[in-house]
Symmetry: C2
Subunit: 415 residues, 2 copies
């Protein structure tokens, strides 16, 4: 695919490509023109509008750029205005348009271009933009304390946490997912640019290869331990579980959050070099699944039900007491589940001879107090995998509900 411009694509979208429901990818059939640009081959978009924000149950795209921002102004009016501006910008970019109408080259020669331009020739790549509000946004600065959802707690420090403040927290977050990293980076950069004087990037993280699938239509990807990751995830098709475990309901405390959810972000460094010295058997014991097919120990198919009681020789459970999937299972957590949407990362090397590799863990749940926190507590305390990982960053965000073509990201906060 060469040269379907953002403009041309807008034309197509404008001509009435039907976009069905929130977060459903709409492939526009364009023939591929040979080698070289597979990531650019899909001029398809994900609807920005819907009951829930896109980018949560949307089938996980290939690439992530996640940014946490701090608000640097004390003027709440500016914040409110920025959320309005951001919504309009996101509406455009997720439809494959430039961030503003004048764009990279359409404006005045004597003014800075309206769009930074690096996505000019790229298809929209299923871009989704998802926003969240951190606990600190509800402090005394903006008069939003009464709007703070009770679910949006400050996360406790978990056993063995080694959090870097420079990779943690944030008043706001923007999650950009796309099938082209340049499209995700372009979107974050242009939103950040619009926020000049109002917000500032606190930290940001690129990810690739999605470590969790969120739809039964997707092949389960592998994380950097080489295991399939996402097999037993909550999937977009599980509407009952989503209602019960992911989407905030109107009686949940803050009515403005109904249809929203809570996002936990954890940057988890994985000591891949140490993991790679563990035996195959040892690795499978730690996870509780086989490495090849991903089947639970004691079963044969990837999607066979996990049976925590199935015994091996002498009746000893095949899935060990400290196996990751046992401790993380809803069966041992009073039914608590989460929707995982993490990405693999390699941030160069660590200065002492190893790759700085890991999992940028993203999870959505309805009540972090009852779901993520007890789960992480169990894992941090007992998971055999903890020997090979280190949590280096942490953040928590309230993710407001989806949008209509006339609503904006700030509506719940300011009306």
């Amino acid at each position: 695919m060469t040269g379907v411009s953002r403009r041309a694509l807008f034309g197509m979208a404008g001509a009435g490509v039907a976009l069905a429901g929130a977060g459903v990818a709409t492939g526009v059939g364009i023939d591929r023109l040979g080698e070289g640009s597979p990531a650019h081959a899909e001029p398809s978009t994900v609807d920005f509008h819907g009951e829930h924000q896109a980018g949560i149950v949307t089938p996980t795209q290939q690439n992530l750029h996640f940014a946490a921002l701090d608000v640097t102004t004390k003027d709440v009016g500016k914040l409110r205005e920025l959320l309005r501006t951001w919504t309009a910008a996101a509406r455009r970019m997720t439809a494959g348009q430039e961030v503003v109408a004048d764009g990279a080259v359409g404006g005045a020669a004597q003014a800075p271009p309206g769009d930074t331009g690096e996505a000019l020739d790229l298809p929209p790549g299923d871009l989704t933009l998802t926003i969240g509000f951190g606990p600190s946004l509800f402090d005394q600065r903006f008069g939003l304390a009464a709007k703070r959802p009770p679910q949006l707690v400050d996360l406790p420090l978990f056993p063995k946490d080694k959090l870097d403040p420079a990779r943690s927290g944030g008043d706001l977050c923007i999650q950009a997912c796309a099938n082209d990293p340049q499209v995700a980076v372009h979107a974050v950069r242009n939103l950040v640019r619009l926020g000049f004087g109002v917000t500032e990037v606190r930290w940001s993280q690129l990810g690739f290869g999605r470590s969790s699938s969120t739809s039964r239509a997707q092949q389960t990807p592998r994380n950097l331990f080489g295991f399939k990751d996402g097999t037993n995830n909550v999937k977009s098709e599980d509407t009952d579980v989503l209602r019960e475990q992911v989407w905030a309901q109107s009686g949940d405390g803050q009515a403005w959050m109904a249809g929203g959810t809570y996002l936990v972000a954890r940057r988890i460094r994985m000591h891949v070099e140490t993991w790679d010295r563990e035996t195959l058997d040892g690795q499978e014991q730690i996870v509780g699944r086989t490495k090849g097919t991903g089947a639970p120990l004691g079963q044969t198919g990837e999607f066979d039900q996990v049976d925590l009681d199935v015994g091996g020789a002498g009746g000893v459970p095949l899935i060990a007491p400290d196996a990751h999937v046992r401790l993380a299972s809803h069966q041992t957590l009073n039914g608590a589940r989460i929707l995982r949407r993490g990405y693999n990362f390699v941030d160069g090397s660590d200065g002492v001879g190893h790759l700085e590799a890991g999992l940028f863990f993203l999870a959505f749940n309805r009540d972090t107090r009852k779901q993520y926190i007890p789960m992480q507590q169990a894992l941090s305390a007992k998971d055999a995998m903890m020997e090979y990982v280190q949590h280096t960053g942490s953040a928590h965000f309230a993710v407001p509900p989806g949008l209509t073509p006339t609503s904006n990201w700030g509506d719940g906060l300011f009306t």
Copy 2:
């Protein structure tokens, strides 16, 4: 594309997919199966063998993982053995196989798996693996001083360089390019793993979106300044220029390098936030080309010839004296050219509110003393673009010639 396994692909390759010449991508026609995995849609390979190493004139793939390594042993025999092992491993991985025959799940349960597994279900993605030897490899440690090519100088410090030693140098480098970041990361990781006890990662860099095209069949990509980058690059089709300016010839000093080339890697931080405040006109003056089409100032088409003398109002040259393309042009550098193959990067944020974005510049030339160095000297001294960039890492490598199915990367050094 779901589930063409590495094994299945090997089967296909083994069944006689003809691979023609060094660095030519061979698409194996497999229908795409809809949404989600564009980067995984191309089970195509690039031949590892040929007159020159693949990954130099090979049409630039989407993703890069570049690693610089130091040799930690004093035992030259181990280094020699490792280069042999690496060659066999690279031969396998570039053909879409696991790094060793036993692989991630095929070995003994009581032994660490032979392959780390995260690429198990992924097509080869046009993976290329290219090796280089740094100046420090030719110091007293391994008795290789007499093998050092005169072209492989220690790079001088250029005006305004702000080099981080932790991002510079290296005894060896591995450049992995692929159309899937996970495939590139997997390849580097598995080579690094094979080097345990012999080499150690000194620094590593991920890149995306290729900032330079190396073939006339490719659409010119854009860098993070939003400009097309690679328009006037030396292309794989320019065989005469390649012979004259890129490939080392047998009379060049070290006969073992004939068919090889010299690689300069520069990590260039780009202050995108400052750039974005420059006017469109100002940006175009700095580059010397228009932002939209990429045409040289004074011309209309992207590929129109650069005319450094074309005058505007009052005869003032349209391409300014300090424009990037003037200073970098072979017309002002006694005919010197280089083959650019850089990638964009975003390494999170810089801690003071900005994205840590830039260009990981990779260039190949026949004699760095006569090509890259004078070019960089001119740019560092006079380029108007220098106000917006900062060189933060630097390395130089001798890239040995291509391989036959029985030769190995160390042959030139050790025979």
